[in-house]
Amino acid sequence: MSDIVLQCERLSKTYKTGDRSLTVLDEVTFEARQGTSMAIIGPSGSGKTTLLGLCAGLDVPSNGTISLMGFKLNSMSEDDRAYVRNQFVGFVFQNFQLLPTLTALENVMVPLELRGTKNSSTKAKDLLARVGLSDRLDHYPTQLSGGEQQRVAMARAFMTSPRILFADEPTGNLDEENASQIVKLLFEINKEEKTTLVLVTHNLELAEKTERILQMKGGKLVNERSTDSVIR
């Protein structure tokens, strides 16, 4: 069996507004292997987030194909894609995206509960301890700082031991100190769990920490390089 986790082939996305059509992603092709990390960088409006959304099955491409863990996402229903996400995908968002009505512990438990797994609290507590929040289990998102909220979001992302983790500007809303803590945790856990990491960021310094960088511009993939060459 191949170790390719994500494969995108000639991926395009066009939005229609009345008579006009706007192509935000134009024939992008790439793949990601198990346990690797990559960053997608580019200026605002270059199509980074659209690409992330398509790769994670949050939307379907206008053209091209996406395979995630062998599942051809563009031919699946929304609910089937949701199932695939639950089984194989983790997310970390710029604005944390915690459910405001749930405690930190409950937020972390949700993905595993969705699978129908019982006693998910033990793992959730372990993960929250791993991100340094074992004393904040019963706190609601509004009672946590931005850094703490993002750590909860990370714990939730790793709760299902995902094969691939999509992170959209995970440090975008954090101060420097919190940002560095989060990045450290993200790469540590990612390494421990052998998860494939796909990171969307403006932050070149953060992107350099991944193994591969895809550079987007005007909806096209304009450059792809390994970070070793950049460092060198």
Partner: protein, 855 residues
């Protein structure tokens, strides 16, 4: 490249198997409990109205079934407008059955304590009526005293109106009776009957001494029979049936009385329950509107859940469970409130209902209410909740992402169910699909009209609002158009309540205007009847001596129909295309003259006439409407029985009669020269303006001519007023449910937009607005809302009132502007209060607290 596709094996669980959605519903709901409760509060009032009215209905029906015989007081009652023939007594066989009876008539009674007089229903009784149930009196021995012949009993309402006690006396005709006490309960009596015609009870033996029963007196006779068994009753009914047709009297069985009353209650129940149902529908619209906002706010959370693997149905189920549970809780609370109201109803409305109301809790009514509440809470929230299913997960990354128009079968199914529901529910209430359909159309039209008026009003206000108005007034106005403000829903809900109350008021004003005498200086307001021919001159003199005008002195001859178009009454009764029994067998009071009076207009043919010497040349005119009842027209013949003398006449014309104007008016008018020698009595009409003069005139008349009765039409005016007061109380009570529902929706809307309002206020404060200004803006905003809501109701009520007065009541449309203004003010004050009460936090929260919350 991957060369294989994995087929997905996703296990889908239904709502009952999926424990996670229940858990999530609780986790999410616990933070929104107060808000969700407010949604369900919109249901509470509607369900309370439904349960209270259904409980009352079931209590009444139970009471009817349990105490059917007490309603009649006997197994069988015979009624006649003339004395019963010996043949009837033979058939009844008083040796085998127990018999009681009475004679009743309209008569003047003078209260000796105050020397005031009033027209009453005089009932002269004999025997031991009632055989079932009880005649409750105060003091308890009053009935026994009446049987001795020197005493009279009064209906409680009459005694209290004229402050009569057991120490006082009343003069009935020529006789003075001591007051034995008051009647607090009598089988078949009480209720509205005693409002319209309060009764005085004496013994039959003493009736003659009053001298009231003279020629032409209209006396009703009844015989009450108690049989020994059901079988006896049946056989007696079989004996009475043929006699009833032959001798022209009516009879009533326990079953007939029960059915009649039951049918009456049922009609009233259906009308009120449909009003309650409207309140419920309004509540549902309020809930749907709130849930729409709630679902929109939950968009981000749903997007995230979908992102991490929840299916669309799972997301839907989370909120569906919350709304369903709250619908049930709201319904239970509504049912509890309804039961509470039902406990109070017997105190409030007992005097209008001729049955003893109990407080028993009706499980059926509660179940119906809860089931109805659960169904409507689901139905009306389905549409906004279904939108949750289609929230795209990409919203997590792009908040403004819109997946475009969604075509969904479930959405269409929900729309169809919502349309079908009012039809089915109304059909269930009225037990008829046609009525259900008509009601649903009615609701639809009413809501469309209300919404249309609300839209138009808002459009006009927005368009023509003075741009030079001060900042506070302009800002308050613009607040009405804030997104999620539910202004139109509120205008419809509150407007409907105002509409019901104002329409009732317009009908009341129009009807009262009809019997109001201020406008026409010459119109009679006092009618004297039962004047014997030998009293005519004296009565006219008495009127003139007061001094009062003698507007009319009209002869009256009583007669019955013998033949219509050459066919005998018996033949017509056997016909299949029947003329109503009452029209054939009733006693007609006719007059004679050769001209029309002010209240009449000839609409077809010519006036009644008689050529002297030609007995077969007599023609009469008939009033419009009655010719349709009797199925006759110009040229048709009628034969009257004029106290034993047959007289055949032809109809020469049809008169349109304005009945309340210039009374007395007549169905048949004969020409002069025909009936002058027939036994007759006279009716005189006059006008008395001052109450003191009226009282003095009545006193003089009762003393001089005790058998002459007097109808003070102003008394009818006050009776109509009183009647409306009672009916109006019930209708207003139900309209209040609609207004309360509107106010709950208002409170919910204020709370829904609380944070937006807080942010706006912070901005205003930052720009220098003072608390007083912010408070003013809030108050003015709700004043606008109250004004527009009540205006919506008023505009429609003017239209609805006009249609009802013109086509249903057929009276002149009249509006009491001052009273409508009171209604408007009441609605505005309530709206401002509720709006302000729920906005206190918004007004008083310090800016920093809001900014922190936002950050």
């Amino acid at each position: 490249m991957l060369e294989y596709i994995i087929k997905i094996k996703r296990v889908t669980k239904n709502i009952f198997q999926d424990a996670w959605v229940w858990k999530m519903a609780w986790r999410d709901g616990r933070h929104n409990l107060s808000r969700l409760f407010l949604f369900s509060a919109s249901l509470i009032t509607g369900i309370a109205a439904v349960v209270a009215i259904a409980s009352l209905n079931y209590s009444l029906q139970d009471e009817l079934n349990r105490n059917a015989k007490e309603l009649l007081g006997a197994d069988l009652v015979l009624n006649s407008s003339k004395k019963f023939d010996a043949e009837i007594f033979t058939a009844v066989d008083s040796t085998k059955q127990k018999i009681a009876g009475d004679a009743d008539m309209a008569s003047m009674v003078m209260f000796m304590n105050t020397k005031q007089s009033r027209l009453v229903k005089l009932t002269a009784m004999y025997g031991d009526f009632p055989f079932y149930g009880e005649m409750a009196t105060f003091p308890t021995n009053a009935y026994q005293l009446v049987k001795t012949g020197k005493y009279a009993m009064l209906d409680e309402s009459l005694a209290s109106q004229f402050q009569v006690s057991s120490e006082d006396s009343i003069k009935v005709g020529n006789t003075i009776f001591k007051v034995a006490g008051v009647v607090t309960k009598i089988p078949g009596g009480g209720g509205l009957t005693s409002t319209l015609a309060p009764a005085v009870y004496i013994s039959l033996a003493s009736l003659d001494s009053t001298g009231l029963v003279q020629f032409g007196s209209r006396v009703g006779y009844s015989i009450y029979i108690k049989t020994n068994s059901e079988a006896d009753t049946k056989s007696l009914i079989e004996k009475v049936k043929p006699l009833s047709k032959k001798l022209g009297f009516g009879y009533e069985t326990v079953e007939a009385r029960r059915e009649g009353l039951g049918q009456g209650f049922k009609s009233v129940y259906q009308f009120f329950s449909l009003l309650a149902f409207v309140a419920l529908i309004l509540g549902c619209i309020g809930v749907a509107s709130s849930v729409h906002i709630y679902a929109r706010e939950k968009r981000d959370e749903v997007a995230l859940l979908r992102c991490i693997g929840s299916s669309g149905w799972q997301a839907f189920n989370i909120y569906f469970i919350q709304i369903f549970v709250l619908g049930v809780v709201g319904s239970l609370l509504g049912a509890a409130l309804g039961v509470g109201i039902h406990q109070v109803i017997p105190y409030a409305f007992q005097e209008y209902i001729p049955l003893k109301l109990d407080f028993a809790i009706s499980i059926r009514a509660i179940l119906e209410g809860v089931v109805l509440g659960a169904i409507v809470s689901i139905l009306f929230t389905l549409l906004p909740l279904l939108s949750v299913r289609f929230v795209p997960p990409l919203t997590v990354l792009r908040a403004d992402f819109d997946s475009g128009k969604i075509k969904s079968k479930s959405k269409w199914a929900a729309i169809i169910l919502i349309v079908l529901f009012p039809i089915l529910a109304a059909a269930y209430q009225t037990k008829s699909f046609i009525s259900g359909g008509l009601f649903a159309i009615g609701i639809g039209v009413a809501l469309v009209c209300l919404t249309g008026v609300a839209y138009l009003l808002l459009f006009m206000v927005r368009r023509y609002f003075p741009i030079n108005a001060s900042f506070i007034w302009r800002h308050a106005m613009s607040n009405l158009f804030r997104p999620n403000n539910q202004t139109r829903v509120l205008m419809v809900a509150i407007g409907l309540g105002a509409f019901i109350i104002a329409t009732l008021n317009i009908i009341q004003s129009s009807l009262l205007n009809q019997v109001e005498f201020k406008g026409n200086a010459n119109q009679s307001n006092t009618i004297l009847f039962d004047i014997q021919p030998n009293q005519k001159e004296g009565v006219v003199k008495l009127i003139k001596d007061q001094p009062l005008p003698v507007n009319q002195v009209v002869p009256i001859i009583t007669c019955r129909l013998k033949e219509v178009k050459g066919k005998s009454i018996e033949e017509i009764q056997r016909d299949t295309a029947r003329i109503p029994e009452w029209a054939l067998t009733r006693e007609y009071r006719v007059t004679y003259r050769d001209s029309l009076i002010a209240s009449e207009e000839l609409i077809k043919g010519e006036l009644q006439k008689f050529t002297k010497g030609k007995a077969d040349s007599v023609t009469v005119t008939i009033s419009e409407g009655m010719h349709e009842v009797l199925k006759v027209t110009v040229g048709d013949s009628l034969t009257f029985d004029l106290q034993g003398v047959p007289l055949t006449v032809k109809i020469s014309g049809i008169r349109k009669v304005d009945w309340p104007k210039d009374p007395p008016n007549f169905i048949f008018v004969f020409p002069a020269g025909v009936l002058e020698n027939a036994p007759q009595i006279f009716v005189a009409a006059t006008r008395v303006d001052e109450p003191t003069q009226a009282s003095k005139f009545q006193q003089t008349l009762v003393i001089a001519y005790p058998n002459v009765s007097l109808i003070d039409l102003r008394l009818i005016l006050s009776t109509v007023n009183e009647l409306f007061g009672k009916i109006g109380l019930v209708v207003r009570f139900l309209a209040l449910f609609s207004i309360i529902t509107g106010l709950v929706v208002l409170a919910s809307a204020v709370i829904n937009s609380k944070f937006i309002r807080m942010k706006e206020n912070v901005l205003l404060r930052t720009l220098g607005a003072r608390t007083r200004q912010i408070t003013l803006i809030t108050l003015i905003e709700y004043a606008y809302l109250g004004i527009f809501s009540s205006l919506t109701g008023m505009i429609l009520s003017l239209g609805g009132g006009w249609i009802l007065t013109k086509f249903f009541f057929e009276v002149e449309f009249a509006v009491n502007a001052i009273e409508l203004l009171y209604i408007c003010s009441g609605v505005v004050i309530l709206t401002v209060f509720i709006g302000w009460f729920n906005s206190r936090e918004v007004i008083s929260t310090p800016p920093l607290q809001v900014l922190r919350k936002e950050n």
